[in-house]
Amino acid sequence: MSAQLWVSVVQIGCFFGLVALGYYLVLEGADFFNFALGPFAMFSGLTASWLMAKQGWPLGLAAVLGIAIAAVLAVVTEVALVRPIDARTGGGELPSLIAVVAVLFAVEQLAGTLFGRQLMPGRSWLPGTSLDLGFVTVDGQTIVLVAATIVSFTGVWLWMRKSKYGRILRAVGSNREAARTLGMPVGRVRLVAFALAGLVVGLAGQLFSAKAGVSFQSGFGWALSGFLALVIGGTGSVWAPLAGGLLLALAQTLVPYYLGSASLDYAVLAVAILFFALRPSGLFVRRVRV
C-alpha cells in the first residue's frame, strides 16, 4: 500500500472521528444517537459551498455561517422535536429514533430544495500549501483537517474536565437519574451537548466538503460512518471516537485495496455485526473500580 493512501486514511479518519465526537456528546447528554448529525454536517458544508460559489462570499464568513447553522439546527432539533416527543412518549427509544430519522430526511430535502441537487465541488482552505515529508506529500486541506481535529478533541476533552457544564455532562452521562436527583440542570446540559455536537459536526462538514465535495445526500452516509466509528471506538473516553474513526477509515481504505470495491459494503456489515455481537460497547470502555 502506497504511503499516499495513509494520508487519506488519516484524513477520512479525522472526519469520521469528528462526526463520532458529535454522536458521543449527544449520547452522553441525552442517551441517544442523533443520526441527524450527518445531515447537519452536510448542511454546513453545502451552505458554505453554495454561498462561495453562487453568492461570492469570502471563505471565512461562509464557513462561520455554515457552522453556526449546523449548531442552530441541532438546538432546534432538541428544543422543538426531541424534547416534546420524549415528554409525550416517556422517553422511549423508538419515538426518538423516528424523530431523528425524520429530521435527517427533512434537512436533506431542505438542502436539496435550497441549494440544488447536484454535487458541489470542494475548495481547499490552503490551496497553495502542501507539506513534503519526503516519503509522502500532505496537501493543505488535510493539514487543516488534522489540526482542526486535534484542536476540537483537545478542546472537548478540556471542556469536559475543567468547565462546569462539561463536568455536569459527564455526570449526566454516567447516571442521569442521580444527576437529576442532585439538582443538576439536566435539561440545560442536554441542550449544551446538542449545540456543541452541532458545532463539531458543522466544522467537520466544512473541512471535509472542502476536500471531497458535498451534495444534499452526502449526510446519510456520513451519519452511518460516524455511528460506526463511535460503535468501534466506544464511549470510554473523549478520544475513543477518534480511534474508532481512524480504524474505520483504515478498514474502508484497506478492504477495497485488497479485496475489490464491492467487498467494502460486505466488510462494513460484517464489522458492524461482529462488534454488536462481541463488543457492543466498543474497544475503549470506561472501567469502574469497585
Binding site: 441517544f32 444517537f33 443520526f35 422543538a80 422535536l81 416534546p84 416527543i85 409525550r88 427509544e93 423508538l94 419515538p95 429514533l97 423516528i98 424523530a99 430519522v101 425524520a102 429530521v103 435527517l104 430526511f105 427533512a106 436533506e108 430535502q109 431542505l110 436539496g112 430544495t113 440544488g116 441537487r117 446519510f220 452511518l224 455511528f227 460506526l228 460503535v231 464491492a262 467494502l264 459494503d265 460486505y266 462494513v268 456489515l269 458492524a272 455485526i273 454488536f276 455481537a277 457492543p280
Partner: protein, 334 residues
C-alpha cells in the same frame, strides 16, 4: 339483561368492520377507474400500489411489534429480481416468481432477524440499513445473476389462461391485491395474534409470561412483512418489464417508515393512505424545484409533533367528537 348491549356492541363492531372493508374496496375501484387508460396515472397508481405493499409489509414488524428493520429495499428488490430471473431464465409462469421471491425474502428476513435478535432501536436500524447497502452492492457486483448495473430487461408480461394481460388490467389487478393485503393486515392487527404482537412491543416480559414466545413472534412477522414487500417489488417489475439496482434504493425505506406515520399507525389503512400521499407529493405535485419531498418531510415532522395518530387517527378523533356532539345535542333536546 346484560347480553343485549353486548350483542349490540358486537353488531356495531361487525358493521364498522364491514363498512371499512366495503369503503376501502369502493376507494380501490375508484382509483382503478381514475387511472383508466391514462399512462401517467397508471404509473402513479402502480407506484402507489408498490409503496403501499412496502408500507404494509413494514407495518406488522415496525408499527405493531416495534422492530425497526430497514432492510426492506432488499426485500422489494428480491421480489423484482425474482420476476426478472424467472421470466428470462425459465419458462415458468410468473406467479411462481412471486411465490419464490416472497419465500426468498421471508427466509432472508428470518435469518437477518435471527442474527440481530439481541439488537433493538438504533443498533437494529443501523445493522439492517448496512445490510440494505451491502445488498445493493451485491446487485451491482453479481453480474451473472443480476445483470449488474444494467439489470434485467424485456421481462415478459403476465399471462392469464393463455392470453397476455395488458398493462391497464394488470394495474387494476395490482390495486385489488393491495386491497386484499390491506384487509388481511388490518384483520391481523385486530386478531389475538395482533394483540400479542402489540403487547410484545410495550411489555415483552408480560407476553413471555403468558406463554407466547416473543422472539418467534417477531421472526414470524419479519418474514411475513418481507414477503408482502417482495410481492410489491414483483408486481412493480412485472408492470414495468424491467428491473435494475436503481429501481429500489435505500431512500425508499425512509419513505416507507414515514408512510404509516403520516397516514396513521392505528390502522393498516394508514400505511396505504401514507403511500398515496407520498406518491402525490413526490411525483404529481411539483410546485417548485422538486420540493414535494421537502413538504413530505415537514409534514412528517408536523404529524410527529402535533398529531401522533396520523391523518386517520385525527379524522377518527374528529368523527368521534362530531358523533359525541350530535348525541349531546339530541340529549339536550330530549
Amino acid at each position: 339483561m346484560s347480553a343485549l348491549p353486548l350483542q349490540k356492541a358486537v353488531g356495531s363492531v361487525r358493521s364498522a368492520e364491514s363498512a371499512r372493508i366495503l369503503g376501502t374496496l369502493v376507494l380501490t375501484v375508484a382509483v382503478i377507474g381514475w387511472a383508466g387508460a391514462d399512462l401517467f396515472r397508471q404509473d402513479l397508481a402502480l407506484l402507489g400500489a408498490t409503496y403501499a405493499l412496502l408500507a404494509l409489509g413494514m407495518y406488522m414488524p415496525f408499527n405493531l411489534a416495534g422492530a425497526l428493520s430497514l432492510a426492506y429495499s432488499a426485500y422489494v428488490a428480491i421480489g423484482g429480481y425474482s420476476v426478472g430471473l424467472v421470466a428470462t431464465k425459465t419458462g415458468w409462469p410468473l406467479p411462481v416468481a412471486y411465490l419464490l421471491g416472497a419465500l426468498a425474502s421471508a427466509a432472508l428476513a428470518v435469518v437477518l432477524g435471527f442474527a440481530t435478535r439481541r439488537l433493538s432501536g438504533f443498533y437494529l436500524a443501523a445493522v439492517t440499513l448496512l445490510f440494505g447497502m451491502a445488498f445493493q452492492s451485491f446487485l451491482l457486483d453479481a453480474k451473472d445473476v443480476t445483470g449488474g448495473a444494467v439489470g434485467i430487461g424485456s421481462i415478459r408480461p403476465l399471462t392469464f389462461f393463455g392470453s397476455e394481460l395488458d398493462r391497464q388490467t394488470f394495474i387494476a389487478l395490482t390495486l385489488l391485491i393491495v386491497w386484499i393485503v390491506g384487509v388481511a393486515v388490518d384483520r391481523v392487527r385486530r386478531s389475538p395474534f395482533g394483540v400479542a404482537l402489540q403487547s410484545s412491543r410495550d411489555v415483552p416480559a408480560a407476553v413471555e409470561a403468558a406463554g407466547v414466545g416473543v422472539p418467534a413472534l417477531r421472526l414470524t412477522v419479519l418474514g411475513a412483512g418481507a414477503a408482502i414487500a417482495s410481492l410489491g417489488g414483483g408486481l412493480f417489475t412485472t408492470a414495468n418489464q424491467t428491473i435494475g439496482p436503481d429501481t429500489f434504493t435505500l431512500h425508499l425505506v425512509m419513505l416507507a417508515i414515514f408512510m404509516p406515520l403520516l397516514g396513521g399507525q392505528g390502522s393498516a389503512w394508514g400505511a396505504v393512505l401514507g403511500a398515496v400521499l407520498v406518491v402525490e407529493l413526490t411525483f404529481n405535485l411539483q410546485i417548485f424545484e422538486r420540493s414535494g419531498s421537502l413538504i413530505f418531510g415537514v409534514a412528517v415532522l408536523a404529524v410527529l409533533l402535533i398529531a401522533p395518530g396520523g391523518i386517520i387517527g385525527y379524522a377518527g378523533q374528529g368523527a368521534r367528537w362530531l358523533r359525541g356532539a350530535a348525541t349531546r345535542t339530541r340529549g339536550a333536546r330530549r
